[in-house]
Subunit: 127 residues, 2 copies
């Protein structure tokens, strides 16, 4: 196996993970109501997706009560790290510098944020 399945969320799965990362843990209804704000989708669709995610190991759940409580089994940071790396490799010839420059160039970044990044760079160089 090249990469574990839980690091390859689909679009819909990622949307659900978003909610779980934000709320820490949530029932299907909680998640569904968040999704329903921005998406026209049925409750059982969300339920089914979350059940599948459970089978894949993408989420954990506490089933001791009628209403199961779900939680992401991958941290947001880990997912970010993995997907970012993948993007750097597939779209930026493996160069994180290229990606950084692209990211800063395309989006308007405030002076405060630029300072923050510069400070971060300075710290990196010190090591």
């Amino acid at each position: 196996m090249s990469v574990a399945k839980y690091l390859k969320p689909t679009e819909s799965e990622l949307e659900i993970l978003q909610v779980l990362w934000e709320k820490q843990n949530a029932s299907v209804r909680d998640v569904h109501e968040e999704l329903a704000k921005v998406k026209d989708v049925g409750y059982t669709t969300t339920l089914k997706l979350m059940q599948i995610m459970f089978e894949k190991g993408l989420v954990k759940r506490d089933a001791s009560f009628k209403t199961h409580i779900y939680e992401a089994s991958v941290s947001k940071k880990k997912a970010q790290k993995h997907l970012l790396k993948k993007m750097i490799n597939t779209l930026f010839s493996g160069s994180s510098t290229e990606l950084v420059i692209q990211a800063l160039g395309n989006h308007k970044t405030s002076p405060e944020e630029l300072n923050e990044i510069q400070q971060f760079l300075d710290n990196l160089k010190k090591r």
Copy 2:
């Protein structure tokens, strides 16, 4: 329509675009041989995918000869811009700074590259 289809390449389509961006233009065989280096896949599969990409408008092709010559119809830069933006929104709460720090933190970046980025930042601040 929310987003044009050509900005939503699938995994396999992205692999093919990689090759086309690198080679500028290429026949199905050219592309296939590149893919075959890293992937076990049949020739007609690559062909079919490229035909579908043509129908979607993801690639252009010159069919005046028997062997059609393909070319990406989206620039690498444009695809980078779009997919990066999408990732920032879905995974980094819309903050490019967050993404940048994550990207630099996770990958070992050489002092030369760090300097390059700093220079880039300085130029950004001047405007």
